[in-house]
Amino acid sequence: MTLVESSAAELLGQLGAGETSSREITQACLDRTESHDAQVGAFLRVDADAALAQADAIDKRRAAGETLGPLAGLPVAVKDLLCQQGEPTTCASRMLENFRPPYDSTVVAKLREADAVLLGRTNMDEFAMGGSTENSAFQPTRNPWDLKRSPGGSSGGAAACVAAGMAPLSIGTDTGGSIRQPSAFCGVVGMKPTYGRVSRFGLVAFASSLDQVGPIAGSVTDTALLLDAIAGHCERDSTSLDVAKPNYLQDIDKPLDGLRLGVVTEHFGKGLDPEVESAVRAAIAAYEGQGAEIVELSLPHSKHAVATYYVIAPCEASSNLARYDGAHYGYRTEERAMLAQLQADRKAAQEAGDEQALDDIDTALVRMYRQSRSEAIGPEVKRRIMLGAYALSAGYYDAYYLKALKVRRLIRQDFDQAFEKVDLIIGPTTAAPAPELGQFDNDPLGMYLLDLYTVSANLAGLPAMSLPCGQSKSGLPIGLQLHAPPLEEARLLRAARMFEQSGAWETKRCEL
């Protein structure tokens, strides 16, 4: 088995035994990226020299017998939405093309503390808005299983780089399914932790009440390893939960006794791809084979989840993205050209004697905002800003935003009631395997429906994860999704590991 085929846990073992070095592992990841990322496009930036320097430093400390962090020497790829000091943090947007944060996000700081090697920055949908990683301002990412297809999104780069063996571990973010959906499409494991479990400090906000950082990896154990390194209370994030963090690796191999699994009627309705359904049903049967009790249940408000999400998320996004106005940082329109145009417009209106037009001409300030934002923000992000600004505006707030908040509470109540009867909820991550690139070019609503099964966890603040449970006839991965009550990440991981160990489906790496 080559280094890029090994799991993170295996690599840690080899590092500990002195069978390999961080430099070798890092170099192997860099080589793999070098040879294949031109096709896949998972990374926006890889700084090979910096990564190797970090790897060398860790190797040196290991050789000196120093105590090292839990990820010592392992390369980790980071979604370009998490601030890394001095490194471009672009959010795959022209707006932040030149932005270099003067601070590390808490998650990046924790990765450094864990002695991980920061490999590079992965591609994504602009500001994490989208479900296909085609909305990146710089490049699309392709699904390594089938380069004609999308890896999903918005953490498409983060999922694809793990699937393609370019990194054993990567960090994604999940606002409506952005970790789980691409993990399902790329055949890897990804988890959205409980809201507040992982610090959002330094995570460039899309929708603050929904965003959560989480791990993506090739196996359940690796996922636990990475979650263990990044979770925990953070004083710089007011929404961070002030509770002790359990050790996620400790009991991961112990199967759960008397497991009650909820199967949601609404998850198996119209629109579910038959191949996905049969793979998920097989997974459920595998759990039954391990003694789990299957409980049919209903989440009656889940049918409103996508609509609710597409009110709340754009509202918050319209507000969070207002800071990109061209005044403080990021992109600013070319001032000279703008002022010249302004003067020309004014002159034209004056000559035409068009008082109304003259009156409607923006001030230089307003025009700077408008031009900067129009030029630097992509169409999907603009669409959501418009949706959000509309839904929050006077006269519409009650009908949209407030109503959505109420439905959100009902969705959470559905889960609370369900978790009185079951330990976990099991179902598909996505309705179908990875779509083709370009499929949603003229169908934004179609793309929004990719989030059908994933958005509820974000609205309810619950932890949920996706793991591979099969393949379509055309060889595309199929994802199984598990939901747990708040803060039950350990339960989620143990249950996922049960499936992984059952032998019902062997996780495979894609051929490139």
Partner: protein, 491 residues
């Protein structure tokens, strides 16, 4: 005649060491952009963390203003684009302010208006914006942004439209500022922008129009922004009342027939000017800030703040009138000087035993000295216990009041106590037998005076006082007069 109806919005900078949502300093006057961090300038990925001291100061102010303290309050985003607003929104409080429904009592010792309770609708917390510095020198149109002030905690205190004149508005602001400085929740320095005022003004004009409510017609409300002194507030309100009356006579336009207008006060020109409607037609799209958890305030937390609440100006005024027998006017003068002066007065009064005389010396000679020396009571050369010793002597007649001023000046110059000052001036106690002898001597030498007094002209004694003082400068004129009158009466 019409009634002017005024409601005030007062923005007060709270005296916290650090900003509302980060650890940056709030000190005034630093080099631009030196007191900023990723959080207060809204850099991508940064998150606010609430300053608990600001919340405590808001509760303290709320208690002092008789406001209800909310058990549950939250943060909202108020969205608008402006270069000095780095996040594109201001974190404020919208529908659930931290305090609401209280009042502040105002009273004019000169009786210009009846004492009244001005209702306060709410006082909510919010962060301040930055400052735009327009550099138009040498034909440049540059605007520079200073974000030092961004994120400074403000308490916005919103009154009901209960004020009826510029004088009442000024009294309200004066009392509010006094109360806030007593509490120490703000330094209220208007030059540094620690206290800023917006006024909402309209008129109620009596009318027999059938549509007039309670026989009155209301003019459209105008919000006057950007006032940086109490004098400006007074002048702006007076100007605006006249302007609205003029406009109403010309147009007859009433409340509801045109949108609320925002006007700016031009202090130099002494006029309010309409601001561009484009800049004020706002839809702030308020919604709860998802980065900040709502705040639950328990009764125990409120009690903890209540414990540190000190005696407020109104209560001290009342105490000085009721327990110290001062006139409301004197009490007002002392209280308006601030808490250190009150403490000074209380020491002088208590130790001298003469409340009224203590007040007279404080409100006249002491305050005059402070003013001319441009110092505060803390720097005053005569400590309270020394002034008390002095007042006690004057009160007991041990120091003739005619020479008290000399002694006071000597104490001021040398820092000595009353005894030492008197000694240095050669002022000694004149005993009764000496006065008696002097009276007999001078009455004998001036039979006309004796005759005049016997004829009912008591003031004739005055002619002898000068002579008496020449013979013995320590003589107390009052005592001398009294003794002479008694001798004449005895015959």
């Amino acid at each position: 005649m019409y009634t002017t109806v005024i409601g005030l919005e007062v923005h007060v900078q709270l005296a916290t060491k650090s900003k509302l949502f980060c650890g940056c300093s709030t000190a005034y006057g630093a080099e631009p952009n030196t007191q900023t961090c990723p959080v207060c300038i809204g850099m991508p990925g940064s998150l606010p963390v609430m300053n608990e001291e600001a919340v405590a100061l808001a509760i303290e102010t709320g208690l002092a203003l008789n406001l209800q303290i909310a058990g549950f309050t939250k943060w909202d985003r108020k969205q608008y684009f402006y270069p000095d607003l780095p996040k594109g929104y201001q974190i404020s409080q919208y529908d659930l302010p931290i305090t609401h429904d209280g009042w502040l009592e105002i009273e004019d010792p000169k009786g210009a208006f009846e004492p009244k309770k001005v209702r306060i609708l709410r006082a909510h917390l919010e962060e301040d914006a930055g400052k735009s510095l327009h550099d138009e020198a040498a034909g440049k149109g540059d605007t520079l942004i200073d974000l030092n002030r961004t994120g400074t905690p403000l308490l916005e205190i919103v009154s009901e439209p209960d004020l009826r004149s510029a004088a009442e508005a000024k009294a309200y602001l004066t009392e509010l500022r006094l109360l806030l400085t007593y509490l120490g929740v703000s330094d209220c320095n208007m030059q540094e922008g620690s206290l800023r005022v917006d006024a909402n003004v309209n008129l109620h004009i009596p009318s027999d129009d059938p549509d007039a409510k309670d026989g009155k017609i209301a003019t459209p409300i105008v919000e006057i922004k950007n006032m940086n002194s109490f004098r400006a507030v007074e002048r702006a309100i007076e100007y605006e009342a006249e302007r609205q009356h003029r406009e109403w006579k010309e147009t007859g336009r009433r409340l509801g027939q045109s949108p609320k207008q925002t006007r700016g006060w031009d202090d130099a020109a002494g006029v309010t000017r309409a601001q561009r409607s484009k800049e004020e037609s706002s839809d702030y799209r308020y919604f709860p800030d998802p980065d900040l958890a709502p705040v639950a305030i328990t009764a125990a937390e409120v009690d903890k703040v209540r414990e540190r609440l000190i005696e407020l100006p109104a209560a001290i005024r009342q105490r000085l009138v009721a327990d110290y027998g001062l006139s409301l006017y004197d009490a007002d003068v002392i209280v308006n000087q601030g808490r250190p002066t009150v403490d000074y007065y209380l020491t002088v009064a208590d130790q001298s035993g003469d409340n009224k005389l203590a007040a007279n010396w404080l409100t006249q000679d002491v305050l005059r000295t402070l003013k001319s020396q441009e110092i505060g009571i803390e720097q005053f050369a005569i400590p309270a216990d020394r002034l008390a010793g002095f007042v006690k002597k004057v009160s007991a007649g041990d120091l003739p009041s005619s020479r008290a001023r000399e002694v006071f000046d000597a104490m001021l110059d040398s820092g000595a106590d009353a005894d030492a000052a008197m000694e240095s001036l050669g002022i000694t106690q004149v005993d009764d037998s000496e006065i008696d002898a002097l009276c007999q001597e001078l009455l004998a030498a001036n039979p006309k005076v004796v005759a005049d007094v016997q004829g009912g002209k008591q003031q004739a004694i005055g002619a002898l006082i000068g002579q008496a003082k020449k013979k013995n400068p320590n003589i107390d004129p009052g005592k001398f007069r009294q003794t002479c009158l008694e001798l004449i009466a005895k015959g």
